[in-house]
């Protein structure tokens, strides 16, 4: 797995794209600390359904969230390509379980369009914008909204 470098010039927008619940998402590269292979986690009692548990990241205890479940797309299907993206939120790191990581994408910030006016409030909170790439729509995640939800959407 690649560990992206953290220094990015501000005008270009570099992000890592990945798929979750059969949709393509991305996170800005500076928000990602590392990408790890899936390893068993310790479940937390009384946790919402999209919180899989906690994992040991070199001595730090970080919660692991099933991204697909949090987005309301149902639990992530288990396969060998599952990875955990360790994302750096405002106050702490969290791991996001995704189906697979695709590539590193570099576009200009002007390529990010506003999220279309969609019905689901849940989705509007989590998706901060979209990028049109060839025939594909890439959804830019709003990490802070994603990590600081009080009640996870237990799918």
């Amino acid at each position: 797995m690649q560990t992206p470098s953290s220094d990015t010039p501000s005008t270009p927008f570099e992000c890592v794209t990945f798929s979750s619940g059969d949709q393509v998402f991305c996170l800005e590269i500076t928000q990602i600390r590392e990408i790890r292979r899936w390893s068993p986690v310790t479940a937390l009692p009384h946790a919402p359904g999209d919180v899989l548990g906690v994992m040991n990241l070199r001595g730090a205890v970080i919660p692991i969230i099933d991204l697909s479940a949090r987005l309301g797309l149902g639990p992530t299907a288990q396969n060998d390509r599952n990875v955990v993206i360790v994302a750096q939120g405002k106050t702490n790191s969290s791991g996001l379980l995704v189906e697979s990581v695709s590539e590193i994408l570099a576009v200009g910030t002007d390529a990010i369009q506003e999220t279309p006016d969609i019905k689901s409030e849940l989705t509007r909170g989590y998706v901060g914008g979209v990028i049109a790439l060839d025939d594909e729509m890439i959804r830019v995640l709003n990490l802070d909204n994603l990590l600081h939800t009080e009640t996870g959407a237990a799918a």
Partner: protein
């Protein structure tokens, strides 16, 4: 001045120690037949604060310290006798001085009324000391250049100043000291470059320079010394007087003439230091220590992992590697204990602050109270000390305000007019116990019960045992005083105290005897970072239970387990029935309460429900674990206090044995409070 801030910080750090020494000395002066040396110690402390404050132009502080010093000087010379009024003034002055230092540190202005009151009290004490009255403290050395010593001819000093490497290592800047000297008068400085070695053998961090300073000034030698005040143990320093003038000023015991500044410094700083000598210490940034502690935590985990891997290799027991692994384990433990010891601090500073709380509260309530402390040398983690300050303050206020009877009440009960509050700290089997006891009338249980009923905290006909009534005090929304006094009723109740203690992993208990007094015991873990625990399995999950919480472990016989109602079970042990709590069910790991074909029960004494038996699947191991907060990375988890990392790198959750008992079932309705058994609170009226 670029280094001025660092010097300023050092000054305030030193002030803290000086003020501690001051309070300590004053406390010693309270006992009859005290050692006269403690008056000197107090004097020195005040004087050093004044000296430092002068260098920073803190006029309020200097003028108050000077006044304070004047009174102490009279006491020291025996020109004034120490009596209770004087002692009271001294303590009050110490408080004002503390406030002034604090205000100066925060660059604020101290409460002018309090300072004025302090001045007035000191003036009252000094009123019968005519020979000091003529001294006006305008002339006091606010600024080092300003001291006027009458009839003093200029004199010269030859100062040889050779810093040790440690001076640089501690962040002192020789040029700042030289600047300070230059401010005293005309100054000729020569640096001796002779010992600078060849570049090839030049050692970074070593000290090669020596300065010879010829200073012509009006200042007495002590003032010159003060320039080196912060570094005098970190350098070789000689100060020669070139033209000795006015011998009287230098004589150590001069006190007759009103020369103020010069005469008031009979104890030269360098000679006084070794005599009262605290052991040499090193100031270290707390962050560095914490980083070290984290790293050692990782080391312990890593050591456990390696041990486990080696075990998995299934080597013959004679293998050399086994010895080395064992050695590694011991070393890691040693390092860990050593590092934890850095953070450990005696509770003394905390206790000294509490003396002030008792003084103030007794003054406000008009009750006479004295605080007796013991076990001040007991060491506790620094964080614990910091976070204990508020709860302790509150409990001591309570003890004076509510615990002690009024003076008339005490006399009527045949007690000493002055109430006694005892504050003790001690180590007890792996934890620290802090007790606050008063010799007042004890808890008024009838009133507590009544209050709880009237506030709707319990049903009117609830039957409670004495200790259950006592524990009502910890319920949120319970306020003891029927007329809320401005002292204790500061918006914090005992529930806040209890939560603060619980947040430190501790617990608090009350015992009270009518007419004799009340004791609050706070039981705290020695350290927050590491604890001994049982590694257990619960519904296939590996968890850790703090050993400190466990009373005993039981392998029950089937006939000792009795069912009550549909799905509750009890354990019969030594004639007593204890409720059995299924940990897996309460954590939501199993659906229903499984009828216990229980193999192991852990008996714990919970805050909320007294003795209970926790049903778990198995005890696998006993080991020291490094505590990792879950709260910071995820948030609170019901029934879980924190997490740790096991030898295989997996995370294990650490059970909160108190909270687990109140999770799930009927008890959950009251889980925030610390009621006696919840069932009783909701009990239907039977009669």
């Amino acid at each position: 001045m670029s280094g001025a801030n660092a010097i300023r910080d050092t000054f305030f750090a030193e002030c803290e120690e000086l003020l501690e020494a001051l309070i300590e000395g004053l406390s010693a002066m309270e006992t009859p037949g005290y050692d006269p040396e403690c008056v000197n110690a107090v004097f020195r402390a005040v004087h050093s604060v004044k000296g430092g404050a002068g260098a920073f132009g803190l006029d309020d502080l200097v003028s108050f310290a000077h006044r304070f010093e004047t009174l102490l000087d009279l006491l020291r010379n025996g020109e004034k006798a120490v009596d209770p009024t004087v002692m009271k003034t001294l303590f009050k002055s110490a408080d004002v001085l503390t406030d002034l230092v604090e205000a100066a540190r925060l660059e604020q202005v101290a409460n002018p009324d309090a300072v004025k009151a302090g001045h007035v009290a000191l003036d009252a004490c000094l009123a019968d000391a005519p020979q000091e009255e003529e001294f006006s403290f305008d002339a006091v050395g606010v600024d080092l250049g300003d001291v006027t010593v009458p009839d003093d001819a200029p004199r010269g000093y030859r100062i040889t100043f050779r810093p040790h490497a440690s001076l640089y290592a501690n962040g002192h800047e020789p040029h700042l000291i030289l600047d300070a000297l230059a401010e005293l008068g005309s100054c000729e400085t020569q640096a001796d470059l002779g010992s600078i070695p060849d570049l090839s053998s030049f050692e970074e961090g070593a000290s090669y320079l020596t300065w010879t300073i010829t200073l012509v000034t009006d200042e007495p030698e002590t003032v010159v010394h003060e320039a080196f005040e912060f570094v005098d143990t970190l350098c070789d320093l000689t100060i020669e007087v070139l033209t000795p003038v006015d011998d009287a000023v230098e004589a150590p015991e001069t006190k007759k003439e009103p020369a103020g500044e010069a005469a008031a410094i009979p104890v030269p700083t360098p000679t006084s230091a070794p005599s009262s000598g605290p052991r040499p210490t090193l100031r270290v940034d707390l962050d560095r220590v914490d980083r070290l502690i984290n790293a050692v935590g990782e080391l312990i985990i890593n050591q456990a992992m390696i041990s486990q891997r080696v075990e998995e290799l299934d080597l013959p027991t004679t293998a050399q590697l086994n010895n080395e692994i064992e050695e590694y384990k011991l070393l890691a433990r040693d390092i860990q204990e050593g590092v934890m010891a850095i953070r450990a601090q005696p509770v003394k500073s905390l206790f000294q602050r509490m003396a002030r709380i008792v003084r103030e509260t007794s003054a406000e309530t008009g009750k006479s109270a004295r605080l007796i402390t013991s076990g001040e040398t007991t060491e506790v983690d620094k964080t614990v000390i910091e976070r204990l300050s508020d709860p302790l303050t509150h409990m001591l206020r309570n003890a004076v305000d509510h615990g002690l009877e009024s003076t008339e009440g005490r006399l009527a009960a045949g007690k000493d007019e002055t109430g006694t509050i005892q504050l003790t700290a001690s180590h007890r089997s792996g934890s620290v116990v802090i007790e606050i006891s008063d010799d007042g009338s004890g808890l008024d249980r009838a009133r507590i019960y009544q209050t709880a009923v009237s506030k709707g905290l319990i049903a009117a006909d609830t039957e409670l045992s004495e200790s259950e009534i006592d524990n009502l005090l910890f319920l949120p929304g319970f306020s003891t005083a029927s007329a809320v006094s401005n002292l204790s009723g500061r918006g914090v109740g005992m529930d806040v105290v209890r939560n603060a203690v619980a947040a430190l992993g501790g617990r608090i208990t009350i015992s009270s005897t009518p007419g004799v007094g009340t004791t609050f015991s706070v039981n705290l873990p020695l350290t927050l970072a590491v604890m001994d625990g049982f590694v257990i399995s619960v519904a296939e999950e590996t968890m850790v239970v703090p050993i400190a919480a466990i009373f005993e472990t039981v392998h029950p016989r089937p006939e000792d387990i009795h069912q009550i109602g549909t799905d509750d079970f009890t354990l019969l042990i030594r004639g007593q029935y204890l409720p059995i709590i299924d940990v897996a069910a309460n954590l939501g790991l199993r659906d229903a309460k499984v009828p216990p074909d229980i193999s192991v029960l852990l008996i714990i004494n919970s805050e909320t429900a007294g003795l209970v038996a926790l049903a778990i699947d198995d005890i696998r191991d006993q080991r020291q674990v490094v505590v990792k907060s879950l709260e910071a990375s995820y948030g609170p988890v019901p029934g879980i206090s924190s997490a740790t990392i096991l030898g295989d790198g997996r995370i294990a959750l650490i059970l909160d044995t108190d909270e687990i008992t109140s999770l799930g079932g009927a008890a959950s309705a009251m889980q925030l409070a610390s009621p006696p058994k919840s069932e009783q609170i909701h009990a239907d009226p039977i009669q």
